[in-house]
């Protein structure tokens, strides 16, 4: 191959290589967008498949007096959080469809005001979709002054579509310390 041919050959190769480079570089932002879109996608998929407890909706609220379901209340604090947190009643027995209100008692043991935020979970996890909370202290910030004690109510009913073999459900809350988070924002 003569040197003139070689020069042209190399130039053509470099041109092609540059076009390939741009195509490949395009994959990087596409995959970054894909990664970031996992967050809304995850929510969408859960909603469509009905996996997430918090998104389920029901219509039938009639009381089914033929069944009694024991609901246990559990209270947890995230590591190192200086609150005392416990249910006023350890458990209640309810008919599906009946609206019930229970209280959790929270005390701030710290010598200053602190803010917490509670996140619920259910045992078994599938029970969440039948557990309808009408009002709840969870997911919103709760600020307690030093030494303050407060009763926090939860109003709920159990969906009477709940499978017949369920006899007991546990509702569990975990309080996270978000005092610093609040100061930051």
């Amino acid at each position: 191959m003569s040197s003139v041919d070689l020069g042209q050959f190399r130039r053509e190769q470099q041109g092609e290589a540059r076009r390939t480079l741009y195509k490949l570089l395009l994959i990087v932002p596409v995959m970054l967008v894909f990664c970031a879109s996992m967050v809304p996608l995850y929510k969408q998929i859960c909603q469509v498949l009905g996996i997430s407890a918090s998104l389920a909706t029901t219509t039938n609220t009639q009381v089914d007096a033929s069944r009694n379901i024991r609901v246990d209340f559990d209270a947890n604090l995230n590591r190192g959080f200086s609150w005392r947190f416990e249910p006023v009643e350890k458990f209640v027995s309810v008919h599906p469809g009946a609206v019930v209100t229970v209280n959790y008692r929270v005390t701030n043991m710290a010598p200053h005001a602190t803010t917490g935020r509670a996140v619920p979970s259910f045992g078994p996890i599938e029970a969440g979709q039948y557990f309808q909370k009408v009002s709840c202290f969870c997911f919103s910030n709760q600020t307690l002054q030093a030494g303050e004690t407060r009763d926090m109510p939860v109003t709920f009913y159990l969906d009477n579509k709940m499978p017949k073999d369920v006899e007991a459900i546990a509702l569990s809350y975990t309080f996270f310390d978000v005092t610093n988070e609040k100061n930051r924002s």
Partner: protein, 534 residues
Amino acid sequence: MAHDAAHDHGHDHHDHGPGPWTRIFTTTNHKDIGSMYLWFAFFMFFVGGAMALVLRAELFVPGLQVVQPEIFNSLTTVHALVMIFGAVMPAFVGFANWLIPMQIGAADMAFPRMNNWSFWIMIPAALLLFGSFLVPGGAAASGWTLYPPLVTQGGIGTDMTIFAIHLLGASSIMGSINIITTILNLRAPGMTLMRMPLFCWTWLITAYLLIATMPVLAGAVTMLLTDRHFGTSFFNAAGGGDPTMFMHIFWFFGHPEVYILILPAFGIVSQIIPAFARKPLFGYASMVYATASIAILSFIVWGHHMFTVGMPAAGNLFFMFATMLIAVPTGVKIFNWIATMWRGSLTFETPMLFCIGFLCMFTLGGFSGLVLSIAAVDITLHNTYYVVAHFHYVLFPGAIWGLTAAVYFWLPKFTGKMYDETLGKWHFWISAIAFNITFFPQHFLGLAGMPRRIPDYALQFTEWNTISTVGAFLLGFSQLIFLWNVVKTIRSGEKAKDKQWEGADSVEWTHLPSPVPYHTFETVPNLKLAAPAH
């Protein structure tokens, strides 16, 4: 560098090239960069190995003797990151740099300056990773998977690890773009895609995996960073986030990553076995398609790392069957390698020994992988030493022995000097025996329920742990033979032949002398007749 400043206006010795120190920073030659990648990987391999030996020393007997639990956790984390991102991946990129341009008849990589940059960007990443041991709170201690919420509680060392991963990811993406472009655009006339050596093929597919998954990892660790410092709640339950989502994103990267660590080794083995069987590779086309199938399937099996997080049964079943499906193309490959050896004129030089070792031990690792793919079984074996044994069986005899075989096979071509065959055989047999002493007992420990990543253990696990530690130190020693052999070859090896291996048929053996000149294929070769026919 001072020397260069003094001669700022005296660039009249162009034919001498820059001095050795300037050269390593400014070189754009694919052979120089390949060598730098390989030495970097070799160094990181010994550092990562030393960390593993500290872990094994701690586990020699129950109780805490050598290190505190915090250090143990950091060492577990950094051992994995160093071995994956510092040793195995750069070593494969090093071979890609050396071999791909020569095997396809190109003068250099497509983007030589980007090539230099993708090497040098790894150095600050390595410094960040090692420097994180010195900062308050120590290095990241969450395991290389960086699961929240543990990882969000770490100190500044965790942030340094996240930045190191960003840099390594950028380096891998640039390296991959270079490799794909080189293969697609710079092949000499006659070197059609389906005549390329398999090392080029497996790297082409690996590079696509890297470009597709590295941005996902970068995104995931960036979300960790904003969760840690900017008040976001991607994975923070207190703000309505979900730690499980991190696992989904991480393993969407993580599972293709394990094939990134093994596919180039498949390519290496597919070239070395035919050379010593003196037969062309059996089923060349099926090898290419099997590699591509493995790569595609690797994107839909991530859930098998998370069978215990409470996915719906349908999800577990899907991931279980998709995972088992990967055994089919992998089985095709194993079959083809055995069929290549069948009725071949076999000889057992060191590279071939490592390839046969690869074949036996990697298959064993594959079988324990199949056991773990069964969702119901995985629930008991999850996070036990059985998993540790499994992935070391696929990574050490898989990735590391593939690389070791490649070093012995191509060192005569790169340096023009022959390695010491006796030392090579010692290296193989000691590491083969030591490897099995180290990792086979870990299957028993896992089945008996010993959890991984814990610095202490219950008394009934003592015997197998002690044996495993003895094996680990022997394995570490056997790698020193490797280092010695490589150094000895470079300093005083006997002269190698241009075509050192009778059965080697790729272009670097048939068209180029040993050692290969600094510049090769400056004029475009015609490979229409020369390229190996499959």
